[in-house]
């Protein structure tokens, strides 16, 4: 493709990094995402919070062009995801929930694969692959098969894969699920550094309220297919009075607790299976 997304939408003209208007999706009779309205500013670290089954991943899938919305629109830097999926894909870096690096390729090959899929010119490829690996602290492990990596290293490798395209929006679906606390901290450090050094916009989903509180500029609380509240974590907490946690905020807006309650059951076997797969891959 000769037209790059950057050419058609100069950053100074676009006001929002992500714009969802009345975004709706149903699986049969079950409405997974129900009239979601969401605006994310460029350079923001934005968290979409909610329990399993709240509709976070379905929202992400529409945004990343994997699903076509049943109703409403979603645009990334002004590019409509339904009308121009290939252009939207060029401005997005995506890290799925599961640890998805190819265990049978080396770290370097894993990144080179994505360099090729994003049409990075052959002359620049080697350098860009090396830079992305270096940015994620994986230079020394680059020649090893990804199957030998720890969970935290695989996450960083996936970030390197997502970075190769110099995306303007980084989409992370549960970036720290299944990682131990130390690896989690390291991964967050790298994500924050990316945002600071490249002015990247970051959209993540998570059900860890403490991490969202610590790292996100703004969050949306999602519950049973709808967004219940949006704001800065501090403002949301302050609204409830002294000493309130983001968990309390969530309970206040949804009347539900995270982790327990009926919402968790609605997450259903798919989420359980997915989490198990991730756990298995982590050994």
């Amino acid at each position: 493709m000769s037209v790059s997304a950057a050419e058609i939408t100069p950053p100074e003209i676009v006001t929002h990094a992500v714009d969802c208007v009345d975004l709706t999706y149903s699986f049969g009779t079950h409405t997974a995402v129900d009239h979601v309205n969401l605006s994310i500013e460029p350079g923001e670290m934005f968290g979409l919070l909610g329990p399993n089954g709240a509709g976070k991943t379905t929202t992400i899938r529409m945004l990343t062009t994997l699903l076509k919305p049943a109703m409403g629109t979603v645009a990334v830097f002004g590019i409509d995801a339904v009308a121009h999926p290939m252009l939207v894909r060029r401005v997005i870096g995506y890290v799925p929930q599961m640890l998805s690096a190819d265990a049978n390729l080396t770290g370097m090959e894993n990144v080179e694969l994505f360099a090729r899929l994003f049409d990075v010119p052959r002359k620049e490829r080697k350098q860009k692959v090396a830079d992305a690996l270096d940015a994620m602290g994986l230079t020394e492990a680059a020649a090893r098969l990804a199957g030998t990596y720890s969970g935290g290293m695989i996450r960083r490798l996936e970030l390197a894969q997502a970075l190769i395209n110099a995306p303007r929006l980084l989409v992370l679906d549960e970036p720290t699920v299944g990682l131990d606390p130390i690896a989690r901290g390291v991964v967050w450090e790298y994500i924050a550094r990316l945002r600071d050094e490249h002015q990247m916009t970051v959209l993540m989903t998570t059900h860890y309220m403490d991490e969202a509180d610590a790292y996100c500029d703004r969050v949306s609380l999602m519950h049973r297919a709808t967004i219940r509240a949006t704001g800065r974590p501090a403002d949301l907490r302050a609204g409830l009075g002294e000493g309130a946690t983001l968990d309390d905020v969530f309970r206040h807006y949804t009347g539900d607790t995270l982790g327990k309650g009926p919402a968790e059951e609605e997450g259903g076997i798919r989420d359980v299976r997915r989490t198990r797969r991730t756990a298995r891959r982590l050994g």
Binding site: M1, S2, V3, E7, I8, T9, P10, I13, V14, T15, H16, D19, V21, R61, T64, T65, L66, L67, T73, V74, A75, F77, G78, I79, D80, V82, A83, H84, M86, L87, R89, R90, I92, Y94, V95, P96, Q97, M98, L99, S100, D102, N104, L105, T106, E109, L113, F114, R116, L117, F118, D119, L145, E158, Q161, R277, R281
Partner: protein, 281 residues
């Protein structure tokens, strides 16, 4: 090109230019994706060759035991001057490619389960290009396996053609056949959706495909109903083309190639259409 004016609602897509997909650019991208996925396959074979060796055992047994025995008892009629072992070799070549290609449906489900598939689908790669790339990756693996089978056949004294053009044509036929069966398998994956289910289906279709083709015996010795099945089985055309090219039996090569190309295009289309169903489960 027009831009959304400052302050205008950015989600209004009507203000964005309609990007004309240039067919040459699309073709170039397709070629690039095929090359990329074949490159991945070659890297994987390079890192782990055990499969190359374990998959050599079965064709070796077919040629060494079944082939030698049936050559001796002259039970199966072969064209004049062609030993049964020579007649069988292209059939076993096609069989080994079939067994490899059928595995790709299981692989794509595994990739779905591991999140690899969604990640590939979020790159600027149309799903037809992704499927075509995977189909040719299966072809590359089959080709490398095919070299092993040809070596085994040569050790057993089967003399295949030395004409480089015919060898290249045979390689192309093998790749097309593998691409078809890989896409057939990926299409079934798009319907079956679960790995264990697909493993059963895969086993249930590979042997019937094999036995209803002309891999082991000429179609004219088959009962009528089997001949009818054999006529619509692409494996028959693959085997006949390989046989014609490698050991010089008579076949209608253009028909074989037309059937294989048609089957390949149809299966790529089918697998591409079913891909979102698989990915979004």
């Amino acid at each position: 090109m027009t831009y959304a004016a400052p302050g205008a609602p950015p989600a209004v897509s009507a203000e964005l230019p309609v990007i004309q997909e240039n067919p040459i650019a699309a073709l170039r991208r397709l070629a690039s994706r095929i090359a990329t996925l074949c490159w991945v396959e070659l890297r994987k074979i390079r890192h782990d060759r055990t499969e190359l060796y374990t998959r050599a055992i079965q064709p070796a047994l077919w040629l060494l035991i079944y082939g030698e025995v049936f050559t001796r008892i002259h039970a199966i009629p072969t064209p004049k001057g062609v030993t049964y072992l020579a007649y069988l070799s292209p059939g076993i070549l096609a069989q080994s490619a079939l067994f490899i290609a059928i595995f790709y449906g299981i692989q794509i489900i595994w990739e779905r389960d591991a999140g690899v598939l969604t990640k590939l689908m979020v790159t600027p790669t149309p799903r037809s290009a992704l499927i075509t790339g995977k189909a040719f990756a299966a072809g590359v693996r089959s080709l490398i396996q095919g070299v092993v089978v040809v070596i085994i056949a040569a050790i057993l004294g089967v003399s295949l053609t030395h004409n480089p053009l015919k060898l290249i044509a045979a390689a192309a036929v093998l790749v097309m056949g593998s691409a078809f069966f890989a896409c057939l398998s990926m299409s079934i994956a798009g319907v079956a959706l679960a790995r264990d289910r697909l493993m059963g289906i895969g086993q249930a279709i590979t042997m019937p495909l094999f036995f209803s083709s002309s891999a082991l015996y000429p179609t004219r010795v088959m009962p009528g109903w089997l001949q009818a099945i054999s006529k619509v089985n692409p494996l028959t055309y693959e085997v006949e083309a390989l046989r014609g090219l490698l050991i010089g039996t008579t076949t209608t090569l253009w028909l074989d190639v037309v059937v294989l190309v048609g089957a390949m295009v149809a299966s790529i289309t089918c697998a591409s259409l079913l891909l979102p169903r698989l990915a979004n489960r």
